[in-house]
Symmetry: C2
Subunit: 420 residues, 2 copies
């Protein structure tokens, strides 16, 4: 071991190696507009995972793939039976998403393990850099972390938000199974903690001129599928007042969602991100309009009230246009505070690196909300230029990416060594 008295807190990741990784990964599933298209368990996502496996082997780390498809690099820096400090994120993207979301966290976790391996540090924990399956929810959402923490039931897999057909097709493509997902739960005592580096995906750090966000908690997220049901009629010969036009209820509700959130829930957000009309033909009055609704709040009481009022509004708009309403609950992730212990370790890391910090809640969901049920979990945010994310406009300055990876390294060391 070097005999520098500040060791290992003067360790830094290899920024050039991190950049090479970033560029390689950003080329997988590249969509021609500067973003990436890597929906979970699609071809491009599986290619990114193949890339990850190759890097793990090249770094001389141990590759582990669990029955939920979660990919890990493992570094034994303690005795074999010590708990594991997990560092990670995800390699899947939303359709036509950005290059930083998830990818930055995975490759930085990998780089942290390489750095610690090379330094030959002994820690009271072992380290694992993990790429979780389907964080983004094109299939289910936080699928890998839910599976790892044993939070997945047979029932959950029957109506995933991406559709059951797509889930089964994805599992098949990846050589996975429902049984594997349901049996991927680990022993809670095997986890010493979880740290994730991620881009903010919002404008707050940039607006405040701060380099590092210390996440205080993750908002609750609920999703529903709402179907407004009318009657198909000839769009030429059926008088306007005789129609039961499903598109009217769906349109009125879409506008109502925005009005309700703006007027009554200023700290919340909601999105109608999907709308399908059936039969979807120019000359037929819409028989069915199906919406995908998602809403978020950091506060449990507010979260519950928002749900009640949005669903009541859907019923009101359906009645207004003489439509039936079918409400399908899809998923709910409760508001989750981050561990004070992990927040403290992140704060110490920022002090040791001389970086300014801002405590802030995450408006986006992350796998950390599942890990937080089992172990001290924390998240490090770096600034998103113009707050853009989930699009090709997503961008984080490279200096901030390097800061983020060093933050992850230092926070991991502080959290691990703080356990001694």
């Amino acid at each position: 071991m070097p005999n520098n008295s500040n060791f290992p807190y003067d360790l830094r990741i290899d920024a050039q190696r991190q950049k090479t990784d970033f560029d390689s990964l950003a080329a997988i599933g590249v969509d021609g507009k500067g973003g990436v298209h890597r929906p979970a368990l699609g071809e491009a996502h599986l290619a990114a995972r193949a890339w990850f496996r190759e890097q793990v082997r090249a770094a001389g780390l141990e590759l582990r793939v669990d029955s939920a498809g979660n990919h890990s690099a493992f570094l034994e820096c303690s005795d074999h039976f010590s708990p594991v400090l997990l560092l990670g994120s995800h390699l899947d993207s939303v359709p036509h998403g950005g290059r930083f979301d998830g990818a930055l966290g995975v490759l930085s976790a990998l780089e942290v393990l390489r750095t610690i391996k090379e330094a030959g540090i002994h820690l009271p924990v072992n380290l694992e850099a993990i790429d979780f399956t389907d964080e983004e929810g094109t299939l289910y959402g936080f699928l890998g972390s839910a599976a790892l923490t044993g939070r997945l039931s047979h029932r959950d897999l029957q109506s995933p938000r991406g559709g059951r057909h797509n889930l089964l097709a994805g599992l098949k493509r990846a050589g996975l199974s429902e049984a594997g997902l349901l049996n991927a739960g680990r022993d809670p005592s095997s986890l010493a903690g979880y740290l994730e580096l991620h881009i903010e995906q919002g404008p707050q750090l940039e607006r405040a001129g701060v380099r590092i966000g210390i996440v205080t908690g993750i908002v609750g997220i609920s999703s529903y599928r709402l179907a407004f049901i009318g009657r198909a009629d000839h769009a030429g010969s059926t008088p306007m007042l005789d129609r039961l036009d499903a598109s009217l209820g769906a349109s009125a509700f879409t506008l109502a969602v925005r009005r309700i959130v703006l007027e009554e829930f200023p700290d919340c957000v909601a999105n109608v991100g999907q709308m399908q009309i059936e039969p979807g033909v120019f000359n037929i009055v819409p028989q069915k309009a199906t919406l995908g609704l998602e809403f978020r709040s950091a506060d449990q009481g507010t979260f519950d009230r928002l749900e009640t009022i949005l669903l009541a509004s859907a019923h009101t708009e359906a009645q207004r246009y003489r439509l039936k309403l079918e409400v399908e609950f899809l998923a709910k992730h409760l508001p989750t505070p981050m561990s004070p212990l992990a927040q403290q370790a992140i704060h110490q890391a920022a002090e040791s690196l001389g970086l300014s910090t801002l405590p802030l809640p995450s408006g986006a969901g992350h796998d950390a909300q599942y890990l937080a049920l089992w172990c001290p979990a924390g998240m490090i945010f770096v600034p998103s230029v113009n707050g853009a994310s989930h699009s090709a406009r997503e961008f984080t300055r490279w200096e901030d990416c390097v800061n983020g990876a060093n933050m992850l390294l230092q926070a991991a060391l502080h959290l691990a060594l703080g356990r001694k």
Copy 2:
């Protein structure tokens, strides 16, 4: 020839044979809900055409298929160079449509030719029972009649309302080509007239207690594709007021279309039958919302005003939500009066059959609007129960179907013999 003095006006079609045809045809593309699914040039539609060819051969009629795929039975009941009186309709359906729309007109035209052939009548015209390609517009709309009347240009085929990809796939499936469509035009002087039997697809005949509708004209129909364009953002971390949500413009416009027609254009109808949201993901703010708009009016001046006001409203709603608007004009069919000569022949037929009549405009578009540009064209309507159409609920009492076929027979004779 029989020496009955009222011959051929006492001729009647064979109702049992017509029923057998109807049941055979209704079984092709049956969708399990009592309707049929025979989108133009899809497998089921091509199967219906194979059935038609078989019936033509079995009846000893001459089969003709033109380069637009229009299928005909031909009966020479005059000298070879006499003009043709066309009788027909279409065998394609809207997606999950009814059993009567189009099919009744084609099989009745075929039955009329069989009846006249068996009676051995000589007429001043030859007869042709035609099944037009893609009347319903799942690909283009009135494709076969537009091609036959030389109204199709290369440009028209570039952005058909069903999408160019689908058009090309359909042509390929049917062994047709774009060049064939553009070269299917006949000589206008070859046509003596056009008569079509069709279900009303609206409630007026039933409400008036009348058996036969004499169509006075066909409404004008215009269709547009409107894209409201915003910006994709993360639906959790982007504040509501920072969003450029394309679904809001589309929803507001959908509601505005109905309000405008109800308040300012009580004699018109409009439909937003398609709505697609991109990227269509729960946790991404909609970047693009594409609507399919169709509107109709029987009066040219009103038709023009309606177009102006609807498009202005689309711009207004786009601006309200800070969205861009892309307007793509798809097709326009002008309001088309039916020929007084054809209406008179239909009226005479109803008198000879002792059936009550109601003159009425057609709110639905029909191939007759193309044929009317070239020859005396007329349409016979029979009642639709509850006015239902373009759905499995479509129903016309069998007695009315038989009346309709006899009306087509008698009107054809009156129109043909009135030429003498």
